[in-house]
């Protein structure tokens, strides 16, 4: 290189050797934050390969897709499209996708740390197993909540923009916003803790995912079969004509059906969401109809048990983890 005065610039590279660190040390609080953000990045595939990003991206698209379709229909059909589902129905529509996301991503977040034994490196740092579990749970909850809200936000914005008078629409329907937010928290918490508790008990991601999807599907199908309503059909002769009338429709398992309905894993968070929205679906599945025979406090208690017991199991499993 030639300098301004035609002289050759000279430089020398010095190896400073090892430098001691005398910067800030933020201890356990920084460790917790690091575990949380690493969890969020892991679930979203940030800093990982393209394949790790594919599923979260697909799931976010899938969560918003029904909302986009509804908004497009609304924009063409206007108020004539009152048959379309609203915010209260949305979590029901995307529930299958949410469970699949939980079943795949919760093991992705927890299992490798145990399988690769990276957990051993965490637990010799200023962090406890409790810190680890709650940072991971919070990280997964954050992403699931974002997923749960994404479709609702698209739907809300679409409903407002396609309304004849957006301001009037907001005035009339503003309560939908806190309702979908509260119901979203309930749904997201459930989708977070149940798969994570399962994932805590195996280092094999595939086993955990298969178990969670199996639990979801088997409980869904079985409870709906057991709570199916059967009606007595009576033949009557009216004005010389024979008519058939249904009467005394009852679930095949009788009074036990309302309690069996509490075993439908899919329905538990959705029932909690329905209570927030004060929604009564007319053509609901049999187990949901059966659950209406219970006092509202029972599904709420069931939701609490389904959420708190997995959290407890998760915490207990990591508390007894030994390096």
């Amino acid at each position: 290189m030639t300098g301004a005065r035609g002289q050759e610039a000279q430089g020398e590279v010095f190896d400073l050797g090892y430098q001691r660190y005398d910067g800030p040390r933020e201890g356990r609080s920084r460790a917790r934050k690091a575990m949380y953000w690493d969890g969020v990045r892991t679930v979203l595939g940030i800093g990982r390969g393209g394949r790790a990003k594919a599923l979260p991206v697909l799931m976010f698209i899938a969560a918003m897709f029904p909302a986009v379709v509804f908004v497009i229909i609304l924009s063409f059909a206007g108020e004539a499209a009152d048959f379309l589902p609203g915010p209260g129905d949305y979590y029901d529509i995307i529930s299958l996708m949410l469970f699949i996301f939980g079943a795949i991503m919760a093991p992705e977040l927890l299992s490798p740390d145990r399988k690769d034994r990276v957990l051993d490196l965490y637990l010799v740092r200023p962090i406890t197993s409790t810190d680890y579990v709650f940072a991971r749970v919070l990280a997964f909850f954050t992403v699931v909540l974002a997923l749960v809200y994404s479709g609702q936000i698209v739907l809300q914005v679409g409903l407002i923009l396609t309304a004849a008078d957006p301001l009037d629409f907001i005035k009339d329907n503003w309560l939908d916003i806190p309702k979908f937010m509260a119901a979203g928290v309930l749904v997201a918490a459930f989708i977070t803790v149940v798969p994570m508790a399962v994932a805590a008990f195996t280092t094999r991601r595939a086993y955990a995912s298969a178990f969670i999807i199996g639990l979801f599907m088997i409980s869904w199908v079985t409870t709906n079969i057991l709570t199916e309503r059967q009606c007595n059909v009576e033949a009557r002769t009216v004005d010389g004509r024979i008519t058939f009338e249904e009467s005394a429709c009852k679930p095949i398992t009788g009074d036990a059906a309302k309690w069996i309905s509490l075993l439908n894993v899919r329905a538990i968070p959705l029932r909690a969401s329905d209570l927030v929205f004060d929604r009564v679906e007319t053509d609901a599945e049999p187990s949901v109809i059966a659950s209406r025979d219970l006092h509202d406090s029972i599904p709420i208690a069931a939701y609490g048990a389904y959420t708190l017991i997995p959290i407890g199991l998760l915490w207990w499993q990591y508390r007894r983890t030994r390096i």
Partner: protein, 299 residues
């Protein structure tokens, strides 16, 4: 200066089994070896030092604190496990940044430290490759790097040369020596390989059956002894007889004749016998002790 680590009557029992019994020793600056065969209590000792388990009796202090009472004290400790403990799908750079933050460093500082430490362990060029693509030697370096990334005061290394080929082992021992002596980070090196201790450590704590068998400077165990070793290619019997005639008892150990007492008169006599018999000399030197002698003497 207070010791970095002190164990006083440290005992750990698992039911009826005593893994560590009444261990008392201190660890100061530099490289200290924790030597012992499998099952000697090394892993139990390391878990106690890291605060992962509580002692059954006795006490341990690491950097002035009881490790099982203070999680925060681990911020100045490093640990490299014997087993594989690395993620596969992240780069070494990402992983080290994360581990530095889990040790309490803010993100900006963690990034700088990760880059620095990867340079020191010789992975500068490879830092953006996924760890899953690394060779076993490179993975071992990443394990060492994660133990150093937060600039600990004391690092506990558990069998750091396990599974490495001779070249990789040499490089790892070089790194450990540099870390202990040039970086100023004190090291406790747990191993069953005496060669690793002789090569890297200043002091050694020898464990056997859960008890402390010896503690001292490595040089103290490997200093010259009072035995002369005469290694010759042929005429062993002739030389032995000639020495005997001069009043010197020589014990044959393979190609080597061992003579007790390393005084000048014996050296002169051995020279004369070699000249007289015409035996071909390979080596004439005092014997040095080895750490193996500790175990031989104990048994």
């Amino acid at each position: 200066m207070p010791p970095l680590l002190s164990a006083i009557g440290l005992t750990k029992r698992y039911g009826a089994t005593t893994a560590l019994a009444d261990a008392t020793f201190t660890v100061n600056e530099g490289v200290t070896g924790l030597l012992g065969p499998n099952g000697a209590g090394k892993s139990t000792a390391i878990k106690l030092f890291l605060g992962l388990i509580r002692p059954s009796s006795g006490s341990v202090e690491v950097l002035g604190e009881k490790p099982y009472e203070s999680v925060e004290s681990r911020a100045r400790l490093g640990y490299m496990p014997e087993h594989e403990a690395l993620p596969h799908n992240v780069t070494a750079s990402e992983f080290l940044m994360h581990m530095a933050q889990v040790s309490g460093l803010p993100p900006a500082h963690a990034r700088t430290r990760a880059a620095d430490i990867l340079r020191h362990v010789g992975l500068d060029e490879e830092r953006y490759r996924r760890i899953g693509e690394y060779s076993s030697g490179m993975r071992q370096r990443v394990k060492l790097a994660q133990a150093l990334v937060h600039d600990p005061v004391l690092v506990l290394l558990d069998e750091p040369t396990a599974g490495l080929d001779p070249g990789g082992r040499e490089e790892m021992l070089d790194l450990i020596t540099r870390t202990g002596h040039d970086f100023g980070i004190s090291i406790m090196l747990s191993t069953h390989l005496m060669g690793d201790i002789e090569r890297s450590a200043d002091r050694v704590v020898v464990l056997e059956n859960g008890r402390v068998a010896q503690v001292g400077a490595v040089s103290g165990f490997t200093q010259e002894t009072e035995t002369l070793l005469l290694e010759i290619d042929d005429k062993h019997d002739e030389v032995t007889a000639a020495l005997k005639a001069m009043g010197i008892d020589a014990v044959r150990q393979g190609a080597v004749l061992a003579v007790e007492g390393a005084d000048d008169a014996k050296l002169d006599a051995m020279r004369d016998v070699l000249a007289q018999t015409g035996a071909r000399l390979r080596r004439l030197a005092p014997r040095r002790g080895t750490l193996a002698d500790i175990f031989r003497d104990a048994s």
